[in-house]
């Protein structure tokens, strides 16, 4: 149904002066990842109407976008390596830089991301890393290494969760073993599998979505976590802390992409542009506690916030030290199988 061969074709001509009031778009995003009144704001700003839908995971939105039928979606929020895959599948509209002047607000590092150097088909929305989110009052000493959750002190048995999405499920083992986050080497994958199978015995469960609640309730004391979501826990309980283990971690990026199938691309780019508006973009940091790659937005983030959520107190340089995730093409099934092997063990 789909192929990557036309990804390099000439971009469609778009009319910068199109009448947006006649256009409407559907945007699919993670729940709570943008202001609730976004539709009103968008209509006020551009005159176009917007309907927002939600997806819970990258896989869910990918399934919808690649199913072959008309997904009905104009703009989707997906993580970087998925944007890369969508592009290879020929589903993405190249970014029309002339319609997104706010691209200039981004940090230089945001143009150097491994999955899409130069942001040809995706625009970074948030970025961050993955680490351990834990209860400092219940864990002593504080975790510093991925091995602290992979092979924990027996006292923490059954009180640890890990992320279940393929690449992040693999991450702790990858880093603990010193491999690339994008490795496709069979021997390395085998070693990771053994380590992860071993680690599974100590887990309470795999959890992508509610790990911070488990920390708050005390069901869990250490969780593999994305930096921003750990913030949800911190906001409720100051004893919750975030640490990036010494072995290092990944650099993930959530991006905005415009679908080739969109019938209102002018409005779609207008939306992308609006999201890069400094004040708008700072909303994400202030409310969702994720870092945004937007230099101009920095001034709208209060200093106290960085104290409460230390993971927000990082520079683009520091973030960029981590290895960026990219799509692995045909080899991505290796991670699917790794995940099945581990979870079904």
């Amino acid at each position: 149904a789909c192929g990557g061969e036309d990804s390099g074709a000439e971009p469609e001509k778009l009319d910068a002066s199109a009448d947006l009031t006649k256009q409407s778009i559907t945007v699919s995003n993670w729940a709570g990842y943008m202001p609730e009144d976004i539709a009103d704001q968008f209509e006020k700003a551009t005159g176009a109407s917007l309907s927002a839908t939600e997806h819970a995971t990258n896989e869910e939105i990918m399934a919808k976008l690649t199913a072959g039928g008309d997904s009905g979606i104009d703009v989707a929020f997906v993580s970087g390596q998925y944007a890369q895959a969508l592009n290879e599948a020929g589903l993405l509209e190249p970014i029309h830089e002339d319609l997104v002047p706010n691209l200039d607000n981004l940090y230089a590092q945001a143009g150097e991301l491994a999955y899409d150097k130069g942001n040809h088909y995706s625009v970074p929305y948030t970025w961050g890393t993955t680490g351990i989110c834990y209860r400092s009052d219940l864990v002593d000493p504080a975790p510093t290494s991925w091995n602290d959750i992979l092979d924990p002190d027996p006292a923490y048995d059954g009180k640890i969760t890990m992320l279940s999405t393929e690449r992040w499920l693999a991450l702790p083992a990858q880093k603990a073993l010193g491999y690339s986050v994008n490795t496709t080497d069979d021997a390395e994958l085998e070693a990771m599998k053994d380590k992860l199978v071993e680690a599974k015995k100590h887990l309470l469960g795999y959890d992508d979505t509610t790990f911070y609640e488990k920390l708050i309730s005390g069901e869990a004391v250490m969780t593999e976590a994305w930096d921003g979501w750990c913030g949800y826990g911190m906001a409720e309980n100051p004893d919750i802390k975030f640490v990036v283990p010494s072995e290092g971690s990944d650099l993930w990026t959530d991006t905005m992409v415009v679908l080739k199938g969109s019938e209102n691309k002018e409005a779609a780019f207008a939306f992308v542009n609006m999201m890069l508006d400094p004040e708008m973009h700072a909303w994400v940091t202030n409310n969702v506690y994720y870092n945004v790659p937007n230099e101009a937005a920095a001034e709208f983030v209060p200093a106290e916030l960085k104290q409460q959520f230390p993971q927000l107190d990082v520079t683009p340089e520091q973030l960029a030290e981590n290895e960026g995730l990219i799509d692995l093409g045909e080899d991505s099934t290796k991670y699917t199988e790794l995940t099945t092997d581990v979870t079904a063990s």
Binding site: A1, A63, T66, G68, E88, L203, L204, A344
Partner: protein, 275 residues
């Protein structure tokens, strides 16, 4: 005339879709999902690789355990209901059915609330001094089995009840009359004659248990994977439809074998046949 629209509808929206997706089992997956129409039997080879074989076996185990427990609970309960005086019978039946008319997800969710380490059951266990420390009840294989038993138990009770209730009062009496003790009567008359209900109940529990993905996901904490999860993941995550279809086909083949067994048993033991 009467049949036309319905048959056409069923053909188009049931037969064709099922055949379509089953035809995918002999094709390759596309790089970005979808199907490449190159004939291959790889999907079947893969389905029996250790990982997937293990999932198949463990799903069968979980579904079988849930079925066995549901039977162990359901049989005495169905039998008791059949023995209740008339006016209590319908009330109890309604009580058994009410949870079943409650949303399936909510019934599953109820067990999260119940089994949590910080939940009611742990509160009770600690409070009663039965355990020193809160124990892990949720996110275990046991929790998955318990959840399946819980959501499908009425489907076990109702058919068994129907077959026990239909059993004429006179047959057990005839057994007693001929010298059969209560135990002999149960083993030799009541139970064999309720077998069609038992088999139907087992199928009603086993089929949806085997294909379930919500209960293992919510109560198994992602640590317990069943065929249903694999099929769902192949379709909605890994985008490998041919392989997902293959797993589903294997599941359906197993179930068809069960149905065949059921029709044999009902034919042998049905009470009507004795009339």
């Amino acid at each position: 005339m009467f049949l036309g629209p319905g048959l056409a509808f069923t053909a188009v929206f049931v037969a064709v879709p099922v055949l379509l997706v089953l035809s995918y089992t002999v094709f390759d997956r596309g790089r970005f999902g979808g199907v490449e129409y190159d004939f291959t039997l790889d999907n079947f080879t893969r389905a029996f690789e250790p990982t997937f074989r293990k999932v198949l076996v463990s799903s069968l185990g979980i579904a079988a355990a849930a079925t066995a427990i549901a039977l162990a609970i359901g049989y005495p309960v169905a039998y008791a209901i059949a023995k209740l005086p008339e006016r209590w019978r319908s009330l109890v039946l309604v009580l058994i059915v009410i949870p079943f008319w409650t949303n399936f997800l909510i019934r599953t969710y109820a067990w999260i609330v119940l089994l949590n380490t910080q939940g009611v059951l742990n509160d009770a266990l600690v409070g009663l001094g039965l355990v020193d420390e809160r124990i892990d009840l949720l996110y275990t294989r046991g929790a998955v089995v318990a959840g399946l038993v819980y959501v499908y138990l009425p489907l076990m009770i109702l058919p068994i009840y129907a077959s026990v209730a239909r059993l004429e009062r006179e047959l057990p009496e005839a057994s007693a009359d001929l010298g059969g003790s209560r135990f002999a009567t149960f083993v030799r008359v009541t139970f064999p004659l309720s077998l069609p209900g038992v088999v139907t109940g087992c199928i009603f529990v086993f089929v949806p248990s085997l294909g379930n993905f919500v209960v293992p996901e919510l109560l198994g904490g992602g640590k317990t994977v069943m065929v249903g999860n694999l099929v769902r993941d192949q379709f909605l995550k890994a985008r490998d439809w041919p392989f997902g279809a293959t797993l589903a086909l294997i599941m359906v083949v197993l179930l068809v074998a069960l149905f065949a067994l059921q029709s044999v048993v009902s034919r042998r033991f049905s009470v009507e046949a004795g009339r």
